[in-house]
């Protein structure tokens, strides 16, 4: 649940979601659910030549299970907070 909470805090920020098929989509994080399904808005595809269809896509829903990485905005990463949260999670609290 830690990542779910964490991603919820990132709503409204710009992230890049890299899928397991190497498609990388940049966009504003619109919402995330408990399965880490991700909805992006104002999307653009990083490698546009490879996915011309995605050019016209402005918002999309990405299945959590196909996400390889989510690149976060540096200003959205509060390391102290994450440290605390992971420790708490590790203790099962």
């Amino acid at each position: 649940m830690l990542f779910f909470s964490y991603f919820k805090d990132l709503v409204g920020r710009e992230v890049t979601v890299e899928l397991k098929n190497d498609l990388a989509i940049r966009g504003t994080l619109h919402s995330v659910d408990q399965y880490l399904n991700i909805k992006l808005e104002n999307t653009r595809v990083v490698d546009q030549d490879k996915y011309p269809h995605m050019l016209s896509v402005r918002n999309c829903f990405i299945r959590g299970s196909v996400v390889r990485y989510v690149q976060l905005p540096p200003e959205g990463v509060d390391i102290e907070l994450l440290h605390d949260a992971t420790r708490r999670e590790a203790r099962g609290g």
Binding site: L19, D33, H53, S56, N59, C60, F61, I62, R63, G64
Partner: protein, 262 residues
């Protein structure tokens, strides 16, 4: 399980109607969208057809060729999106990718792109009227939209903006339904089960260790010092006990002996 895109031909009512759903396992029809063309990969659009969205899968069935249809499970749909840039595709549509490994894409493109004009299309006033009506219907229910195929939008010259607005509303609605249904289909079993197994075995191991620990002390063959270098210690303990018994017996015997003599 996860099959990706597959041919789908099972229809109810002599193979002419809606897709046969797995209602025994709780599959329900969530949405029906008529006049939908489908584009697979870079192929040409296939139309006209009807899009059925159930709680488990997306099914597109041709209205013309009753043996033609495709289905894809939500579990296989890795991404779905709304496409509205006319340069990328002539009309607003839902774009999906499935099974990340296969780079095979589907376009489900809504309503109007049927290339051949169908009856009633020449009457433009009819169309405009229908369009107005449709906007109302969409606003009110969104569901039964364009059930009459002759009412399909976009077949006239003027008022493209209105048609486009309606279409965009439609694809947005479809997008939301796709989202809703995708969320009904979280990753099942396989991954979860492994994890559960692992946790389960770990717990079990702790239990087993605890139990074995008890057995250890109860079973004499498992007593400490019976292996390797501790052998001598065990023997010493045993000998010590034996010696004690001998001493006692000897004492008693001595006692008896002495008594018998006295």
């Amino acid at each position: 399980m996860v099959l990706g895109l597959r041919e789908f031909t099972e229809r109810v009512g002599d193979g002419a109607g809606e897709p046969v759903l797995d209602s025994d396992n709780g599959e329900e029809l969530m949405h029906v969208q008529h006049s939908v063309a489908i584009v697979l990969g870079n192929r040409v659009p296939v139309s006209p057809g009807t899009l059925y969205i159930s709680t488990k899968q997306v099914v597109w069935l041709s209205d013309v060729d009753k043996t033609k249809g495709y289905a894809v499970d939500f579990l296989s749909l890795s991404l779905h999106a709304v496409s509205r840039d006319p340069e990328a595709y002539p009309s607003p549509c839902i774009y999906t990718q499935y099974l990340v490994d296969t780079l095979f894409d589907i376009f489900c493109e809504c309503a109007e792109l049927n290339p051949e004009p169908i009856e009633g299309d020449e009457e433009e006033h009819n169309w405009i009227f229908s369009a107005d009506q449709m906007v109302d219907e969409v606003a009110e229910e969104g569901d039964d939209f364009s059930q009459d195929p002759t009412n399909s939008i976009g077949h006239s010259n003027g008022d493209h903006d209105l048609a486009r607005t309606v279409l965009e509303y439609l694809v947005d609605t479809l997008f939301d339904i796709f989202c809703e249904c995708a969320e009904l289909n979280p990753e099942p079993i396989e991954g979860d089960e492994e994890e559960h197994n692992w946790i389960f075995s770990a717990d079990q191991m702790v239990d087993e260790v605890a139990e074995e620990g008890d057995d250890f002390s109860q079973d004499p063959t498992n007593s400490i010092g019976h292996s390797n270098g501790d052998h001598d210690l065990a023997r010493t303990v045993l000998e010590l006990q034996i010696n004690d018994q001998r001493f006692e017996d000897a004492d008693e015997m001595d006692d008896d002996h002495e008594r018998g003599h006295h």
